[in-house]
Structures are given as C-alpha cells and as structure tokens.
C-alpha cells in the first residue's frame, strides 16, 4: 500500500483531511470516526483519480500564468503589481512543503477571475493547531496592538502578518536572512515608517546593527514585536514612565556594556535624581532618557549632532527649562556622588557622610550613657 502511493501527493492530502477532522471533531470518538472516513476517502481517491497527475497538474496550472517573469497587473492607481511566482519561491522557506492552495485556499478554479483575498495566517497558526506550525498567541497580542486596531478600523495601509514576515520567502526569525531578524527588521519597519528609519539608520544604534552587533537594539528591541502600542499609550514600552526601564534593560547590564566601553552608572544615577524619582512616581512631564538623548536619532555625546553634545545641551534642556544657557553643560551629567570622578560633589558628600555619622554616634552615646546612669541610680536606690 505505502509503496504504491506517491510520497509527494499523499502527505498533503492526508494532512488536509486530518486537519479537517481535527477542526470538526471535539471528542476522541468523533476524531476516530473522521479518521476512518478520511482513510476511506483517501482510498476512493486513489482508485478514482491518480494523485500524481492531480498534484502535478495543480502546480503546473498555477505556474502556467504566474511562472512568467513578465506577469504583472496594472492597478487602478497606475502602480504595477508584480505577481511573478515560480515553483522555487517557497524553496528554503518554512513553508517549503506546502502547495499554493494550502494558503490561497479560496482559489477554487483556474484561472481565478478575481484576486484572492489576503492570506490569513491564523488559519494554521492558532494555538493547539495540528500542523506543527508555531503555536504562539502573538496574533492575539497583535489584535490589541496599534497595528491590529488600525486593521480593524479599516486602514488598508496598516501591516498584517505578511507585511513584516514576508509572503512566500518566510524563514525563521533566528535566520539572519529573515525579514524580521535583528539585522533587517529596521528595513522592514522602515517601508512604512520611512522618516524614522532614516533617523535610526545613522544613529549609534543603527550603525551598531549594520555592523552586525547582536546586542544593539533594533525597532523590536525597544517597541516590542507584536505588542506594539503608540508612545502615548500607558501600555507601551516607550511610554513616558516606561522609557527608563526599557533603556535600562541593556544599559544597566554590565556584561553587555563592558563590551563597548560604556558606563552603566547613568541608569542608577538617573533613577536617584529628581528626574528619575518623579518619573518613577508617575510624572509624565519630567525628563526621561529620550527627552535628552533623543528617540530614534540617538548619537554619541562627542558627535556635534548629538542632542547631549555640550554645545547642544542648552537647547536640549531648554525644552523644559526655558532660558537655558551654557551653564547647564558645566559639570558632569549623570553625576555619581559616591565616585571621585564627581569632583567637588564627592567631597561634599563625604563631608556630610562623616559629619552625620560622627554627630549621631556622639548623640546616641550621650543618650546611652544617660540611660545607663539612670538605670544604675535606680538599681542603687533599690
């Protein structure tokens, strides 16, 4: 039996029928029943229609038109949509073993008279699916995200799964060639957010990503992947009171920062400053990391274009402190009073530390002696 059935066609048909059984069957009994029916239909199929011919004809039918390199459609707005697809398009992708109609399942005749609907990835990628497709509920988070809500409101420009992950040539995220791999996700997002991409590309983070540094943050490193919210949404990772936490995920890590010669003291010195404390207690108007360093166009402080370059500090601080002048830049930023690099502030802190310790020791000793004397006289009295 097995030797008689071609390996190419049988698994596909069997898989589709099995999925159908799983969808409809809610109990083991039903599942077993549908399995039997599936086997019967499979047998009938083998007897009635030759699968090899069917499979081969089906694939050839699609590529009959789509296989031509000049095959394209002129849209109503004058743009040209290239719909050239060959049998090699799926090669190397995670869907290599699928056929055209596995995703484009609404195509029932060839040639199809209307354009097929956009592919719905959740057809297979739902939790508990039998395909073995990644069982992730990221799509549920996506529906709640700014992109998902834009789709629900009918925004045709909002991205769906294939706009980011790709359409035919989808590879795993860990693969460096993936459209959503760390090295390429900025380009992917930049197709819509082109102004932001232009800023990011020349920023210190963008330059680091282009050099192949794995630890550098790309778009998804800060904004999230499927759970992207607008920056004014309290659920966003880049909301005013969440920015410091998001940046500190990398910048508070000594193991990461030591590779690039960057200090980690900025994180705890910011959190101890009035800016950090007020931000932690919910103030949205107080400065956070991006208020000074910028958002997508972050540059090293030595860069003349950097917003934290000493020459640009008055302008940066002046956003909140009107009338800011070069005095704002005289002295170390992110000063840590416990380190000697802080200069005079370190000595002031040391003075008060020892003054406090000395004074309180003397006063407490006085109190202790007083109590000792009283108890002694009391016992002496008895």
């Amino acid at each position: 039996m097995s030797t008689a059935v071609p390996s190419v066609a049988a698994p596909c048909i069997h898989t589709r029928l099995h999925r159908l059984a799983t969808n409809l069957g809610e109990k083991c009994g039903f599942k077993s029943l549908f399995a039997v029916i599936a086997a019967a239909i499979l047998g009938i199929g083998l007897l009635s229609f030759p699968p090899p011919a069917e499979a081969r004809i089906s694939l050839e039918k699609c590529t009959l038109c789509h296989g031509k390199s000049e095959f394209r459609k002129v849209l109503v707005d004058g743009k040209i949509r290239d719909i050239f697809v060959t049998a090699d398009s799926l090669k190397g992708s995670v869907h290599e073993k699928k056929t055209c109609v596995d995703c484009h399942f609404d195509v029932s005749e060839i040639p199809h008279r209307v354009r097929p609907r956009r592919v719905t990835c959740t057809h297979c990628h739902y939790k508990g699916n039998a395909e073995g497709a990644p069982q992730w509920d990221g799509y549920l988070a996506y529906f709640d995200s700014v992109h998902g809500k834009a789709i629900a409101q009918g925004n045709v420009k909002a991205p769906m799964c294939q706009d980011c992950h790709g359409s035919h040539a989808i590879v795993k995220t860990k693969n460096d060639k993936s459209a959503v791999a760390q090295q390429h996700v900025a380009e992917t997002c930049g197709r819509c957010h082109i102004e932001i991409y232009a800023k990011y590309r020349t920023s210190i983070h963008g330059v680091a990503v282009s050099k192949g540094i794995k630890e550098a943050p790309s778009c998804t490193g800060c904004h999230g992947e499927h759970t992207i919210y607008g920056p004014k949404d309290p659920k966003s990772t880049v909301y005013a009171t969440h920015v410091a936490d998001q940046c500190s995920k990398c910048h508070a890590s000594v193991s990461i920062m030591s590779k690039f010669g960057i200090e980690t003291e900025q994180v705890h010195t910011y959190k101890e400053s009035f800016h950090g404390v007020a931000n932690q207690f919910g103030s949205r108007t107080v400065a956070n990391c991006s208020s000074c360093h910028g958002t997508h166009d972050i540059r090293p402080a030595a860069d003349p274009l950097s917003s934290v370059n000493p020459q640009n500090v008055p302008k940066t601080c002046g956003k909140c402190h009107p009338g800011a002048n070069p005095n704002f830049a005289v002295g170390k930023m992110h000063i840590d009073a416990k380190k000697k690099e802080a200069g005079i502030v370190y000595y002031v802190a040391s003075f008060f530390k020892y003054l406090t310790i000395g004074t309180m020791l003397a006063l407490i000793a006085h109190i202790a002696l007083d109590m000792y004397g009283r108890s002694k006289r009391l016992r002496g009295g008895k």
């Binding site: 103030s283 170390k332 008060f352 406090t356 009283r374």
Partner: protein
Amino acid sequence: MSVDEKKTIPQQEIDREVEEAISTETAGLDPEKATEIREKIRKRVREEMEREMRLRTAAERRDEERRRREERRKEKHHEEGEMFQRFNRNFRFQHMVMFTSVILLIITGMPIKFPNFILSRLVINLWGGINNSTLVHRIGAGMLIYFMVHHLFYTILSRDGRRDFLLLIPMPKDLKDAVQNVRFFLGKEGEKPKFGRFSYIEKFDYWAVYWGCIIMIGSGALLWGESIALKYMPKFVLDIAHEAHSDEAMLATLAIVIWHFYNVHFNPERFPGTLMWWHGQISEHEIKEEHPLEYDEIMAKRKQQAAAEGTN
C-alpha cells in the same frame, strides 16, 4: 473711697446721691424740663452701673476659673509645686510653625531620597501624586523661611528674645557641664551639674537649627529656582546644592527624631511626652531639677521685688 466700701453701698444711697445732684443742677429750670432731665440721668446711671457690673463679673469669672484650675492641679500633682512660665506665646508660636514645616518637609522629602522604600509610593499617593507632593514640600519650605525671619526679628526686637539669645551663646561652663554630666552618668560624680536657663544640650539644639536652616534654605532655594539659578552659576553648583540638601536633611531628621525627641519627650522623667511646647509652663519640681540656677535667679528677683515693695 475704697473699692470694698463702694461695693457695700446700698442702691438707696446711690439713688439719694443722684437725686441730690440732679436737684442742685436743675434748681433754676422749669418743673417739666427738670422732670425730663431727671429721668434721663437716672436711666443713664443705671446703664453705666449694669455695664460695669458685667465687666467685673466676666473678669472675676476668668480669675475664679484660673484659680480653681490651679487648685485642682495642686491637688492632683502636689509634688509639682508652683508653675512658672518658661516660654512666652511668641516663642511657642515660632516653635509650632517650625515643627509643622519640618514635619511636612520630612514627609514629602524622604520619598524622594528613598524612592524604593516600601512606604514611599504610599506617601506620594497620599498627596495625590508627585506634583502635589512637591507643592506641599514648597509650602513647608515657605513656612520654614517665615519662621527663620520671624525668629531673627524676635531675637532683635523682643526683650525676651535678646535675653534668651545671650543666654544661648556657648560658654566655657558648657564644656565643664558636659564633662561633669558624663562623669555623673558613669557614677564617678555624685552630683549632677547645675544648669541655668539653657543647658549645653539645649544650646546644641538651638545652634543645630541655625546650621540646618542655613544649609537647607540656601540649597533649597537654588533647587527651587533651578532654571533661574543655572543662568548665573554652573551645573556643578546645583549638583553640590542637591547633595548638601539631601544629606543635611538626613542629618537633621536623625538629630530631631533621635536626639531631640529623647531629651524632650522620651527620657524617663518626661515619658511619654511633655506639653511644654503647647502651654510653655514648667513646674517648680522640674525647674529645680533641670534649671536650678534659673530657679535661684527667679527667687532672688522675687525677694528683691518684695524688699522694694516693702520699702514703698
């Protein structure tokens, strides 16, 4: 005519005197007019007498109440003896303004110094958020500044203020008293040192307040008007002010809560607390124990006054 004699005169006598005066003044007038004037004068006299009676009654009532309260206190605490006024009303008002502002400043300032402390978020939310908390902090700062200005004027313009200031200046006797006190604690000295109106402990507290206020108000003013301050001085000056403000706040809080609260409220002689900050009075027992030299001065002054009155 003395007051006592005045009281015993019956109403009849007064009426008779009034009648005689009226007769004398109205001798040359028409009978009708004389009658009219007589009624008017009699009514006026009655009103005046009633008013005087009311005033005297209220004054007597207050004195009687005070005397009764004093007797009641003596019955309950006969060992205390006489009560002396240690702090006047002005001084007590200053102290209340000061401690109210300091309490507000500590409550609203400590969450900023220790933001991760378990109660900090609760305290911030108590004021309705960080913005309200900083507003209350500045109200407290305003009160503290007012207190300092008021105290300077009190010290300069008030007789009590000048006297107290001179008495609060540190003297060599204070060092001697401190050494003797420690020896007394250790049992090496049989007798406690004799303090005047202000012991070295109180002098320390007083000058510590000056030190604390100068640093806190000075650095706080720079931080309050940070944008303005940065127009005239570099950023590292503000960094110094921030550090000094934070550290001095810690020192002041510890000194107040541990040292001042122990000496004034929690030491065994006064536990669980004294109300002298409210009524400003000190008992004879306490003044003899804590401020014997001042007690001697008061007694000497009284003796002197009595002698002077005797001479008159």
